[in-house]
Structure formats: structure tokens, C-alpha cells
């Protein structure tokens, strides 16, 4: 979508665009169409063209999802303000709700920093939102995602588990994976539960333990004779 604005100066035109569209200057994609060259007798107006990303508008409207109860609205508001105060504004929408679970999706231009390295920032945001939401309704767990990071990450972990299990079977030597949180470790255990010839167990202390994949002594894999 393209809109045009006019003003005596460039700043004035931009200010008009900002009030009209209710956006900050750094959210606007501006092109100066007419720089307002000084004519013989008077200065002509500055004309700017503002390009609006259509998906921005779309996601804005999807925030107004129908049937939000008070709890959901409060949690969404909290997260929206939190992101805003972090300096990475975005829109929050519900992806699904299940018994005891509320899944939220963050749509933002700043997704990569909101997610962070290995989802570190996303996990921290999710934790704070859960502490807040727990005061309102302790029986619901809030899951926060952006750009489908969590789903992609889960797939990656399962693939990694299969690859590591193959290596263990081939080499006969156990393999220690990098530290993971309980949720991630459970994914690995479950993925390899059905794989014959290997077993898994967690090692270490604290929240972030490491999964070790070893040859299953009771049911060793069939090794090819050469």
C-alpha cells in the first residue's frame, strides 16, 4: 500500500504521515517524491510517498482476534508491552489454545533478536511471561514462539538424535550431546526410545543436563561382518 503526504518541510510531511498512520518514523518506508524546490516566487510543498508493508497491516488486524477472554487479553498485553519496552515491538497472536496451554506467536521485524542464540531470549521472555501469567491463572502454561522457531528447533533436535545414534551404532562408542533443558532432553529420549541398539541417559547436575547415547548392552545392534 502506498500513501502520499505533503507538507511545507520534509519533517512536517513525515509528522503528518506518522499521526495519520499511527506509526513511528523508523517504522515508515519513506520516499521523497518532490523535495520542494524553491520556485521563483514561493517555495513549493514537499511531497513524500510512504510505503506500507501489507503484512504489517494484516498482523495488526489479527491481534483483534475474536473471543479473547480476559486472561488471554492480559497475557497478550503484557507480552506486547514487554517487547515494546525491549525496543523490539511486534504483534502477538494466539496460535492455539488447549487444555492448560496457551500458544502465542510473535510477529515482528525483530524476530531474530527476540529469539536469540539457540532461543535464549525467547526462553527468557517465555519464563517471565509464565511467571506473570501464573499469578492470573496458575493452571495454564504459556508457550511463546516466533517464526516457527520452536517447531523447527524440535525437528533439528530429533534429526540430531538420529544422526548421533547412527554414529554410536557404527563406531560402538558412546556419544555425549551438548547441554539441553528438560524439554529438549525428553525429545531426544523419546526419539531414540524406538531405535534398537542404543540407549540414552542424562548426565550432569542442574537444569541443563547432557544426554549420553550408548550401545544397548541387552540389545546390541547387528554389526556387519567384513
Amino acid at each position: 500500500m502506498v500513501r502520499e503526504f505533503e507538507g511545507k518541510t520534509e519533517q512536517e510531511a513525515i509528522a503528518m504521515a506518522m499521526t495519520e498512520l499511527q506509526l513511528e518514523q523508523d517504522e515508515l518506508d519513506i520516499e521523497i517524491v518532490d523535495a520542494g524546490k524553491r520556485g521563483l516566487f514561493k517555495k513549493s510543498n514537499v511531497r513524500i510517498r510512504v510505503y506500507l508493508a501489507d503484512d504489517l497491516q494484516e498482523s495488526e488486524s489479527s491481534v483483534a482476534q475474536e473471543g479473547l477472554d480476559e486472561y488471554e487479553q492480559q497475557v497478550i498485553d503484557f507480552l506486547t508491552v514487554l517487547l515494546d519496552k525491549m525496543g523490539y515491538p511486534g504483534f502477538v497472536k494466539i496460535t492455539h489454545r488447549k487444555e492448560g496451554k496457551l500458544a502465542l506467536d510473535v510477529v515482528s521485524d525483530h524476530s531474530s533478536i527476540i529469539i536469540g542464540k539457540k532461543g535464549k531470549n525467547l526462553d527468557a521472555i517465555q519464563l517471565i511471561v509464565n511467571v506473570y501469567a501464573g499469578q492470573l491463572n496458575p493452571s495454564v502454561k504459556v508457550i511463546i514462539d516466533s517464526e516457527n522457531y520452536r517447531m523447527r528447533h524440535e525437528e533439528q533436535l530429533v534429526k540430531l538424535a538420529y544422526r548421533a545414534a547412527e554414529q554410536v551404532k557404527r563406531s560402538g562408542r558412546s556419544k555425549l550431546l551438548e547441554p539441553m533443558n528438560p524439554f529438549e532432553r525428553r525429545l531426544i529420549h523419546t526419539a531414540l526410545n524406538g531405535i534398537e541398539g542404543v540407549t540414552t541417559k542424562s548426565e550432569g547436575e542442574g537444569l541443563f543436563k547432557q544426554v549420553r547415547i550408548t550401545i544397548d548392552e541387552d540389545l546390541p545392534p547387528l554389526r556387519k561382518e567384513h
Binding site: 514487554l82 536469540g116 517471565i128 499469578q135 537444569l207
Partner: protein, 77 residues
């Protein structure tokens, strides 16, 4: 702004939001934020094994990454 961010998070987690205060100590390369809450609320902003405090620190450094400044959070008790 980082002070605002910490204040917002702290206020939403404690029982006595009016008692939340953040003191900013501005250094050349780093900023230290001192968070003060009501005595009964200290546990709420720290959490078991410091989980909440650490999450706030992660959020804070993500936010500060924009300015390239190093921000430290200290919880006073």
C-alpha cells in the same frame, strides 16, 4: 529504555509494585541497574536458583544489544 524495562518486569511480578525502585549508575561502557523491591518480594524477582533474575538479565542484554552498551542488573536486599 532499560530502566523502564526492568521496572515494568519487576512491577508485574511483585505483590507491592509501589515499592519497586530502579537506580541507574551510568558508566562509560556499562550501565548498572540497581533494583530494589519490598523485602517480601525479593524472592519473587530472583526465583528458584535465580531463574527469574537470570531471565531478566537475558532480556535486558537483548534489549541493550541495540545500543551496544553493557547493562548489569543487581538486586538489592
Amino acid at each position: 529504555m532499560e530502566k523502564d524495562l526492568v521496572e515494568y518486569i519487576a512491577k508485574s511480578l511483585v505483590d507491592q509494585p509501589d515499592e519497586v525502585a530502579v537506580n541507574v549508575i551510568e558508566g562509560e561502557q556499562s550501565t548498572i541497574l540497581e533494583l530494589k523491591v519490598a523485602a517480601d518480594d525479593v524472592g519473587k524477582v530472583i526465583g528458584k536458583q535465580g531463574r527469574i533474575a537470570n531471565a531478566v538479565r537475558v532480556i535486558l542484554s537483548a534489549s541493550a544489544a541495540k545500543s551496544g552498551k553493557h547493562v548489569q542488573l543487581e538486586i538489592l536486599d
